[in-house]
């Protein structure tokens, strides 16, 4: 059996791979229904007192809102919007998944992932065709937040094999991570991430975009998401907000940049936006206890 087959077989048989947090499944279900309201979303969140407290704290953080003081989740939803609160709940829940890491810096990993999630939304401001709806932006956040989940799965469930990849990365210079994974394991964190997200029943665009975030040209239904991910991921890496592995992609896809209609004249402003998003993710992460 090849290493790739071993890993695929392992993924099918590992019982401990977590399921999607229940609170997110319920929030998404309500938000996708026609009767979604601040009250109905708040009713779900308040069943989790720890998350509730964190959402209210975040809503009062100056990075998230400059409005009046917020005392409960319902006010937070009114102030920040359904989708932003949903994104915050998803991020707070995700950070607690797969905590027993081996070779990866857990805090760095989530700082990167949450920032990429926020950066996906921030980049939308710079599209030539910025007619994207709130639902797409929420999907974009999810894809950003979970795009490297395959790295965490490798690290948690195949730590020795992954250590070999990381060791070769340190020695190998500026080889991209997915290239080393492919050479050492026959499978990349992108593919493993796609498998896990499909198992968690995320929509095809999210799965497709995570699968192809280092090769957005190969994406189909999630092409725009994959293009965004490729660029958001690179900018975060470029700004030093990396996922805790030693090597990152060396550039973004030129085709993705052109197809999204982004302008190089906006580069400095884009970088500044991503830095602000990194501060937001830092605040969020500090509340999660990481």
């Amino acid at each position: 059996m090849t290493t790739r087959e071993d890993i695929l077989d392992g993924l099918n048989n590992i019982a401990e791979i977590p399921t999607m947090p229940e609170v997110i499944c319920k929030v998404d279900e309500v938000m996708n229904s026609s009767s979604a309201s601040a009250a109905s979303v708040a009713d779900i969140i308040i069943n989790d007192p720890a998350i509730t407290l964190k959402v209210v704290k975040l809503a009062n953080s100056p990075l998230f809102t400059r409005g009046r003081r917020i005392d409960d989740v319902r006010q937070a939803i009114v102030q920040l919007g359904f989708r932003e609160v949903r994104n915050i709940v998803l991020a707070l829940s995700s950070v607690n998944m797969m905590r027993s890491v081996n070779n990866i810096d857990h805090k760095k990993f989530w700082q990167h992932s949450i920032t990429v999630g926020f950066a996906m939304k921030a980049l939308a401001k710079f599209y030539k065709k910025s007619d994207l709806d709130e639902e797409f932006l929420s999907t974009a956040f999810t894809a950003g937040l979970l795009h490297d989940i395959g790295v965490l799965v490798f690290d948690q469930f195949f730590p020795e094999l992954y250590q070999d990849v990381l060791d070769s990365a340190v020695e190998g210079g500026d080889e991209p991570l997915d290239g080393l994974e492919l050479q050492e394991l026959g499978i990349t964190h992108c593919e493993v991430g796609g498998i896990i997200l499909a198992r968690w029943e995320f929509g095809i665009p999210i799965v497709d975009s995570v699968l192809n975030h280092h090769s957005p040209e190969s994406a189909s239904e999630g092409k725009m998401l994959a293009e965004l991910l490729n660029i958001a991921n690179f900018i975060c890496n470029n700004q030093g907000i990396t996922n805790g592995t030693p090597l990152q992609s060396l550039g973004f896809s030129d085709l993705a940049w052109e197809e999204l209609g982004l302008s190089l004249d906006d580069s400095r402003e884009i970088i500044e936006s991503v830095r602000v998003e990194a501060e937001k993710s830092q605040v969020l992460l500090s509340l999660s206890g990481s």
Partner: protein, 286 residues
Amino acid sequence: MAISKEEFDLFRKFIKEKCGITLVEGKEYLVENRLTVLMIQSGAETFTELYKLVISDNTLAAKVIEAIVTNETLWFRDNSFFELLNGKVVPWLVDKAKRSKVRIWSVASSTGQEAYSVGILVNEACIAVGNPALKNKFEVIGTDISPSAIFMAISGRYSQLAMSRGMRKEYLEKYFKKDGAAYELDESIRSMVQFKKMNLLDNLIGLGSFDFVMCRNVLIYFSDEIKRDIYSKLHKNMNNSAVLVIGATESSAAYTDDFTQRSIGGSVLYTPKGSTQSVGLETSIG
């Protein structure tokens, strides 16, 4: 897996047809290194199989081109060249800046090292003549075809590995700030340089006229016909008194007679025919 001579020739012909770039013999390692991951990703087991996929798949073809045409770029990479810049060209440009604006063009600027290197040398020279504000008379432009390379250049951030490729310790300490694993170039130099997306095959007139043009080891990848076209464009984008520098192993002679070749201290510079300028170029061999 090693690439065979026949396989190398297949990709060489493909790259020539698609972008007019000629890969010379001896570049097999480059093709092999850069296409191995694409080969595995595409499910091909040999480079011949990858080639068969590439000719019927435009997306894969674009990836192959992007992988092969990417250049490595270095700081002050050619010491004799930068000695020439430091000793002759930059002092001449700084003197010129006392009277008028000075425009410098880094052609195919990639991730910005050459353009920023010149920015640092100009800044140092302005300080040396006791007039630091003179640097504001300079406009350094870097152009490249790749948005990704330009974005990286604009960010002004470089990895340890990138810094190890030719950055001098004195300039590293003076002009870069360590931020995590990266080195970030000081705003005083970043603000001197602008980067623009530009395809050398397009009309370049909009860029305006330059006093100094660096087009080093760029045209070696292009066919003779395209070389002729680009030299003609470079000439049109140069002031009558401007200077062009190309790679140490390159010569423009076979492609243009618009320039006079001048030799100085082992380096070769080119000036437009009939130029009256002087960079202290002792010997004219044109």
